[in-house]
Every structure is written in C-alpha cells, then in structure tokens.
C-alpha cells in the first residue's frame, strides 16, 4: 500500500493545481483587468505610512489601556468586539493589496526574457510565507481578539530572539569561525526586512 503514496500524493497535488487553474480560467476577464488595477495601487502600497499608522493604532496598547482602566466591563467587551472587526478588516486589506502587487509582478514577469528562476522562487516563497502568516493572524484574532493576539505575537518574537541567542551561543562554542559568517547573514537578512 505504501508504494501508492507517491502516485496518490502527486495526483492530489496535481488536482489542486488543475482546480486552481480551471477556477482562474473562468474569471479570465477579471484577470485581464488586474493588469491595470495593481499599477494604480502600486504607488499606494509603496506609501507605507497610512497602512502602517492604521495598524499601529489598531494594535497599539494605548486605547486598550485607557478602556481597561476607566470603563465598565461591558464597554471593554464592546471595545474588543469592535477592535476585532477593525483588525480583521485591516489584515484582509493588507493581504489584498499585497496580492495585487504580486499579481502585477507575475503578469509583468512572465513577459520578461531575463527572468531569473531563483528570484522568482524566492519571491514566491516570500509571498507564500506572508499569506500563511496573514491567515494565521486572521484566525488568531478571530479566536482571541487583537489585544491577546498582540501579546502572543510579542511572545513569539521574544521566543524567536531567545532561540537565536541560544543558537548563536551554541555556534560560538561549536564553530567560532562559522558563527562570524552566520552573524553577517543574519544582519543582512534583518537589513533587508
């Protein structure tokens, strides 16, 4: 039975891709319109300030600190409910705008003769990671609300930083020369993001 697994796996994967392509083929006219829409939005997404500011305000602790200090529990619940709706809308908007940019990229890239396979794979993985993170956060906010999600995310970043520090200490003991190379890589990665 285990000999079937590669065939079944490949078959299922193929069905998913075929399904996506067929679904997309039915909305061809919308797809052609996308060629123009992202270009109009491209500069909008590039202007980071409004979206970022909005995100900072939605997830920032100031409003919640005020509400939790000076108001009744009913108002606190109302605030949480409203803020959840707002946070979900913000995340979906961010997701939609980024998807538009990615779509504009693939439509333009497919015609480019000097397209680089490695760059395309890197961009595709980066986009996939963004989508996974975004959907994960949407789920988390829907379940726990933006205030608690922010705490979880903050905790997640602290764990990641802790893990990195432990890993660096370990590398310093195991291979001091390699650690220096790793430091450069980490710093470059941080600078890029």
């Amino acid at each position: 039975m285990s000999q079937l697994l590669p065939y079944v796996g490949l078959g299922l994967l193929f069905l998913v891709v075929l399904g996506l392509w067929v679904r997309q083929s039915f909305v061809t006219r919308a797809g052609r319109a996308e060629l123009l829409v992202p270009r109009q939005h491209r500069s909008g997404v590039g202007r980071a300030a409004p979206l970022r500011d909005l995100g900072e305000r939605i997830f920032g602790p100031e409003d919640w600190d005020f509400v939790s200090r000076d108001t009744s529990s009913e108002i606190q619940r109302m605030f949480q409910r409203e803020r959840t709706i707002l946070a979900l809308a913000w995340l979906r908007r961010t997701r939609m705008r980024t998807s538009q940019v990615m779509r504009a990229h693939v439509v333009a890239a497919r015609q480019s003769e000097d397209l680089q396979l490695a760059t395309e794979i890197r961009l595709a993985l980066s986009y996939l990671l963004f989508l996974i993170l975004c959907d994960f956060l949407i789920g988390l906010i829907w379940l726990r609300g933006p205030v608690r999600t922010r705490r979880i995310v903050r905790q997640g970043f602290h764990w990641a930083a802790g893990l990195r520090a432990t890993f660096e200490q370990l590398m310093a003991i195991v291979d001091p020369a390699n650690r220096r190379a790793l430091d450069v890589g980490f710093n470059q990665g941080t600078a890029q993001s």
């Binding site: 490949l10 052609r32 990229h105 693939v106 333009a108 497919r110 980066s126």
Partner: protein, 253 residues
Amino acid sequence: MFTQILWWLGNATEAFILARSVKGKIYRKYPAFYFYLSTVLFVELLRFATYTLQPSLHRVLYWYTEYVAATVGYLVILEIYRHALKSSPGAARIARTFLLFVLAAVILKVMMNALSGPAWSPAATSAELERNLRTVQLLLLFGIVGLLAYYRIPTSRNLKGITFGYSFYVFACVMSLAFGSLPDYALRPAWRLVQPIAFLAALFIWGGTLWSYQPSPEPETKSEIERDYKFLSEQTNRILSRARSYLKLGGEL
C-alpha cells in the same frame, strides 16, 4: 454490455471530433493533438479487428498498442507547452528548466534501476511500464499547468480544453494503474472502467471546446518598467518585506 456501450460511444465521439476538425480546419492549428486522436481511434479499430478475426493475437497487441497511445501523448504535451507559453518568454524559460529537470531525473532513475539489478527489465509488467510513462506525463503537465496558473497566462478556449481534458485523462490513468497494481483492486471489474470512462469524459470536453477554432488571446504590450525585470523584482521584494513587517502588529513590539 456497459463496456461495449462505452467503447462504441468513445469511438463515435472521436470520429465526430476528427470530422469536426476537418470541417473547421482546426487540425492545422493543433496537429499533434489530432494525430494523437487519430492514432487512438486507429488502434481501437485495429484491436477490434484483431479481436474479431484473430483473438489469440489480441492480448499481445493490446499492450503494445497501449504504449503507442501513451508515447504519442508526449507530442500533445509538447504542443500544449508550445502554444501556451509562446507569448510568455519568462514562463517558457522556467518551463524549459523544469522539463530538463524531469528528463534528467527520469534518465537518472532508469540508470540507477539498470545498475541496481543484474537482470533488469524496463518494467516488471506491462501495466507498470504504462504507469511510469503516464506518471512522467503527469509530472510534465503538472509543471505546465502550474505555470499557467501561477503566471495567469491567458490561453484560448481550444487550448484550455485540450489541456484540461488530457490532464484529467492522464490523472485518471495514473490513479487507475497505480491502484490496479494492487492485487485487491486488479480483480474488481469496475476498476477497469475508470480509464474508458475518464477518456470518454475527456472526449466530451474536447468535443465542447474544439467545436470551432478560437485564436489565442493577444499578448499584452510591454511597458518600460516591465522590461527591467531586475527593477521589478526588487520592487516586489521590497513591498513584500514591508507587508510582512506589518504583521508584527503595530510596528515595534
């Protein structure tokens, strides 16, 4: 009885599609696909003649001709690749790399099999060989359909029909041959109907989408910014990184 109905219905549909292609001159646009259909029809009729006139030869002929159909199927894939990606040089470049990678993997696998066993044969059974041929086809189609979906490459209704119908049939072949190699499944008569039913479904798809010739959509005109791929990919990368940084929920944490 049901098998016979399927068989006659399949042949009639094939003949109808071929006749329609002659009337609408579509065969000139997709010669490999119509050659494949003609081959399949010819093989079916040859099998029928052998079964009626020389039943002892039928079994041997069946498996040999099964390879013919599977091999000619590669020409269909090549035609899909040529038509679908002709106006998208970037995607075509990735497809070429992928096809070469699959080819290298197949050659490597065949060589490893040849070296690992002293009495190596191409496949233990005829069904296994056909399954392997179809699996490679599925991999190639996976690459092409994946690129069509990812790069949102516009295709004509005719090409969509050929690609979808053939992909569906190859998928059904791989699944039925893989499950059919298990002793429990091979004995069930219903399992043998999967391929003919899938082929009939593909024929109906082709019949509907190849009714008349539809030209491929015109390629979009390139703007200056699109010509500079490096600039474009850097821009996209920057925007993706920035969008990801938003997910820290509120900037600095």
